[in-house]
C-alpha cells in the first residue's frame, strides 16, 4: 500500500468519528442550554439504546426497516443518483404487498409470504425505477421527483385504504382488510425483534457483494465516479442507473412488506412513520456503503430508542431526538468537504515516489483524459 492510500484510509476512518464527536459536543451544548449535564444525558442514551438486552432489542426493532430503507439511497448512489424517495417506495411496497396478501388470503403461509415479498419488491422497485427512467431518458432530477413522488405515494395509500381495499369495519380509523394471521411474520426465537432484522442484514451484505465484488457493481461505481468516462468505455450508463434504482426501490418496498406483515397486519396511514427519511440519513452517514449502513442503522435505531428516556427521565422536549439526529447528519455532511485534505498536509517530498503508481491505478480518469 502506498502512502496516499494509507493516508486516505486513515482519513476515511477518522473523519466520520470526528464528525460524530463534533455532533456529540454540539448536542452537549444543547443539553447544557436545557440545564442538564451532557454526560448524564449520554449515559441515559447509552443505557436506553444498548445498555441492556431488552433495550438493545428496542434498538434492533427500529434498525431493521432503516437498513432496508438506506439501501434505497445507497444502491442508486453507486451510479451517481441521489434518491430520497425511500418513504414513497416503502409505502408502495407495503400497499402492493397488502393487496397481494388480501388476494392470497387462503394460500399456504410460505407461498403467500413469498408472493407478498415479490409484490413488495416489485412495487417499490418500479416506483424508484421510474425515477431512474425519468432521469436516464428525460433528464428529470431524481432527487426532486423522488421527494414529490413520496407525496404521491402517500396519497395513493390513502386513496386505496379509504376506497377500494377498505375494511368496512374500520369506521373511524380507515384501514385495509387484515392479512391472514398465519401469513404474518413472527419474531425471532426468544426475542421481540421480528425477522426484518435478518432480512435487512442479509440485504446489506448482498448489496456489499453486488457493489464491490461483481462486474455489474463495478460498472455502476465507474458510472457514479465519472459518467462520461463510463460512456466512453462503452458502459450503458442509462441502463445501470435504472437497474440500480430498481434494486434500491425493491429494498425499500421489502421494508414496506415487512412493516405490513410483521408489525401492522394491514395497510393504513400508520405506515408513514418516517423510516424512509431515516434511511436517507443512514445512507449519507454510512457514506453510501451498505456494510457500514448496518452499523449506522443500529446507531440511529439506538438514538430513536433513547427518545423515550430523554423525555421521561430528563424532561427534554420530544424534538430532542430530532435535534440529535439532525446534528449528526449535518456534521457528517460537512465532513464530506474535508476528504482529501489530509493528503495535502503530508509533506510533498514524501509523495514523489508514489505518484506513478497512484495515477495508473485510476483507470476511468485516465481514459477520460485520453
Amino acid at each position: 500500500m502506498d502512502l496516499n492510500q494509507a493516508v486516505d484510509r486513515i482519513e476515511r476512518f477518522l473523519l466520520p468519528l470526528l464528525s460524530i464527536g463534533l455532533a456529540l459536543i454540539l448536542f452537549g451544548l444543547f443539553c447544557v442550554c436545557q440545564g442538564l449535564n451532557p454526560l448524564d444525558v449520554y449515559a441515559s442514551i447509552y443505557r436506553a439504546a444498548f445498555g441492556r438486552w431488552s433495550s438493545f432489542q428496542n434498538t434492533l426493532l427500529r434498525a431493521a426497516p432503516l437498513m432496508l430503507c438506506s439501501l434505497c439511497t445507497i444502491l442508486p448512489a453507486q451510479t451517481g443518483l441521489i434518491v430520497i424517495g425511500n418513504e414513497g417506495a416503502l409505502v408502495i411496497g407495503a400497499l402492493s404487498a397488502t393487496c397481494v396478501g388480501m388476494l392470497v388470503y387462503g394460500f399456504a403461509p410460505f407461498f403467500a409470504q413469498l408472493l407478498m415479498v415479490f409484490a413488495g419488491c416489485l412495487g417499490g422497485g418500479l416506483w424508484i425505477g421510474l425515477l431512474g427512467l425519468l432521469r436516464a431518458k428525460r433528464g428529470v432530477n431524481e432527487t426532486i421527483s423522488g421527494l414529490l413522488l413520496n407525496y404521491v405515494a402517500i396519497a395513493l395509500l390513502n386513496f386505496f385504504v379509504e376506497g377500494p381495499i377498505r375494511d368496512p369495519a374500520s369506521l373511524n380509523n380507515p384501514a385495509s382488510f387484515p392479512l391472514a394471521d398465519s401469513h404474518l411474520l413472527g419474531n425471532l426465537p426468544g426475542m421481540r425483534v421480528h425477522f426484518g432484522i435478518i432480512v435487512g442484514f442479509v440485504a446489506c451484505l448482498l448489496s456489499t457483494w453486488l457493489i464491490y465484488r461483481t462486474p455489474l457493481g463495478f460498472s455502476a461505481r465507474v458510472t457514479g465516479g465519472n459518467y462520461r468516462a463510463a460512456q466512453i468505455v462503452g458502459l450503458s450508463v442509462n441502463r445501470l442507473m435504472i437497474i440500480f434504482s430498481i434494486f434500491g426501490g425493491a429494498a425499500a418496498g421489502l421494508a414496506g412488506m415487512i412493516e405490513v406483515a410483521a408489525v401492522h397486519g394491514r395497510a393504513n396511514d400508520d405506515l408513514v412513520a418516517g423510516y424512509g427519511y431515516g434511511g436517507v440519513l443512514v445512507a449519507f452517514v454510512a457514506r453510501q456503503n451498505p456494510l457500514v449502513a448496518i452499523f449506522v442503522s443500529v446507531l440511529v435505531g439506538g438514538i430513536l430508542a433513547s427518545g423515550g428516556i430523554l423525555q421521561r427521565v430528563h424532561d427534554l422536549p420530544d424534538s430532542t431526538v430530532l435535534i440529535f439526529q439532525g446534528l449528526v447528519f449535518l456534521c457528517v455532511l460537512w465532513s464530506d468537504s474535508f476528504y482529501g485534505k489530509l493528503n495535502s498536509l503530508v509533506p510533498h517530498f514524501i509523495h514523489g515516489s508514489c505518484h506513478e503508481i497512484f495515477n495508473s491505478s485510476c483507470a476511468p480518469e485516465d481514459i477520460s483524459h485520453g
Binding site: S54, E162, N172, N173, V263, L271, Q311, D318
Partner: protein
C-alpha cells in the same frame, strides 16, 4: 518477554475485575432509586403517550392538559412521551413505561395505537390497564383494555349557533381531515346548530385528507375566506394555523380540541373542547377505589357528552352578541338535560335523500350515528374525497 506478557495479562485481569466491580457498584446504586420508587406502593404511575407534540394547540395538547391535572393529585405520578409514531415505537414506549417506570395505567391517546399495538401488549401485561381514546373497543378484545370517547358534536352544535349569529354573509366553513363518521358528525352538528337559528346558512366543507396537513389547511382557509366565508371551524389535529389565518383575514373562527382563543383574540367566538381532566380524574378515582377493567367494575366503553363532562365549550369571545349568548346557553341547557335531540327527523342529506324519517330521532348514544356517512342539507361538499 514472557514475564512482561504475564504482567500485562495480570494487569488486564485486574482491569477487568476493576471494571466489573465498577459496573456492579453502578448497577447496585442505579437500582436502588428505582427499587425505592417501586416500593412506594401508594403511588399510581400513569403513562400518557401522544402521537404529536404536547403543545400543538390541538388533539395532543387537550390530552396533555388532562395529564397535567392528574399529576397534581396526591399519590399519582404521571410519565409522558410525545411524538411517538403509531408503529413498533409505541409498543416499546408502553413496555418501557410498564417495566422501567412501573406504570400500571396507560393512556395511549392516538387512534392508530389501538390495533394491533395495544391489543398485542395488553395480552402480555394482564395486570396493566390500557385506556385508549377513540371508542374502538369491541367484544373479544383483552379484558384489561378500555376505550373512551366524547360526543363532542354537542359542543359543535352550540358553536354552530354562535357562528350563525356572528356571520354577515351567511356562509360558514369547515376544514376537516377525513370523511369518517366522527368527523361527519361534527360537521353535521355544527351545520344543524347554525341552521337552528338561521335556516339559510350554508357550511362549505373542505377535506384535507389527513390529520396534520398545515399547508393544505392554510390553503383551504384562504380559499374559504376568498369566497366570502366569515366563520370557520375545523376537525384536524392541530387547528393552530387555521385560527391564526382566520384572525389575519379578519374573519371569525371557532376552535376545536382545546382553547385556541390566544391565537385569535379578536375573532375567536367559542370552541368545542375536550374536558379530559374530568374524564381522567373519574378513571383514576375508580382505580384508586380498587375498581378495574378486568373484573368489569370499570366499563370497557365509556362515553359521554356535555352532561357527562366529557366535552365543554370555550369561553365566548368579544364578537359574540348578547342574543347569540342567549341562544347558545339555551341550547346548552337543553343538551345538558337531554331535552334537545340533535338528530331528529325528518332530516335530509345534502343530496335530498331522507336520512332520518319523520318522527324518528337518533339520540346521543344511538349506534346509527357511529356509522354516519352523509352530510346534512346545508353542507356544501361531498363525502367522496
Amino acid at each position: 518477554m514472557s514475564s512482561r506478557f504475564s504482567l500485562s495479562r495480570r494487569i488486564v485481569l485486574r482491569g477487568i475485575l476493576a471494571a466489573g466491580s465498577l459496573g456492579l457498584v453502578k448497577a447496585v446504586s442505579g437500582c436502588s432509586p428505582t427499587n425505592l420508587a417501586g416500593n412506594a406502593e401508594r403511588d399510581l404511575v400513569v403513562g400518557f403517550i401522544y402521537v404529536g407534540p404536547k403543545d400543538d394547540y390541538g388533539y395532543n395538547q387537550a390530552h396533555a392538559v388532562g395529564a397535567a391535572a392528574l399529576s397534581k393529585i396526591d399519590g399519582i405520578k404521571v410519565v409522558e412521551e410525545a411524538s411517538v409514531p403509531e408503529t413498533t415505537a409505541v409498543v416499546e414506549t408502553m413496555r418501557n413505561m410498564i417495566e422501567q417506570d412501573k406504570a400500571t395505567l396507560l393512556f395511549p391517546t392516538s387512534f392508530g395505537y389501538y390495533d394491533p399495538h395495544i391489543l398485542k401488549l395488553a395480552k402480555e401485561y394482564p395486570d396493566v390497564q390500557f385506556l385508549h381514546c377513540g371508542g374502538l373497543y369491541q367484544n373479544g378484545h383483552p379484558t384489561n383494555v378500555g376505550s373512551y370517547f366524547g360526543y363532542i358534536d354537542e359542543a359543535q352544535y352550540v358553536a354552530g349557533i354562535v357562528a350563525a349569529h356572528a356571520s354577515k354573509t351567511g356562509k360558514l366553513g369547515f376544514i376537516a381531515a377525513k370523511p369518517i363518521p366522527q368527523v361527519l358528525r361534527n360537521i353535521n352538528s355544527y351545520t344543524l346548530g347554525a341552521r337552528s337559528v338561521r335556516p339559510d346558512v350554508t357550511n362549505q366543507v373542505i377535506f384535507t385528507g389527513n390529520w396534520s396537513e398545515p399547508v393544505k389547511e392554510a390553503e383551504a382557509m384562504n380559499s374559504l375566506a376568498d369566497v366570502g366565508v366569515d366563520g370557520v371551524t375545523c376537525h384536524v389535529d392541530s387547528p393552530k394555523i387555521i385560527m391564526e389565518l382566520a384572525e389575519k383575514r379578519g374573519i371569525n373562527c371557532s376552535g376545536y380540541h382545546t382553547d385556541q382563543s390566544a391565537l385569535a383574540p379578536k375573532g375567536y367566538l367559542t370552541g368545542a373542547e375536550w374536558d379530559w381532566s374530568s374524564v381522567y380524574q373519574a378513571y383514576v378515582n375508580d382505580i384508586q377505589a380498587g375498581k378495574s377493567l378486568a373484573n368489569g367494575s370499570i366499563p370497557h366503553l365509556y362515553r359521554g357528552g356535555l352532561g357527562d363532562k366529557f366535552v365543554k365549550i370555550s369561553p365566548f369571545g368579544p364578537n359574540v352578541t348578547a342574543d347569540a349568548k342567549k341562544d347558545a346557553e339555551a341550547a346548552l341547557q337543553k343538551l345538558l338535560t337531554g331535552e334537545l335531540v340533535i338528530y331528529s327527523g325528518e332530516m335530509k342529506d345534502n343530496t335530498g335523500r331522507i336520512v332520518i324519517k319523520k318522527g324518528a330521532s337518533l339520540k346521543q348514544r344511538d349506534l346509527a350515528l357511529e356509522k354516519m356517512d352523509w352530510l346534512v342539507a346545508g353542507v356544501k361538499g361531498s363525502t367522496k374525497v
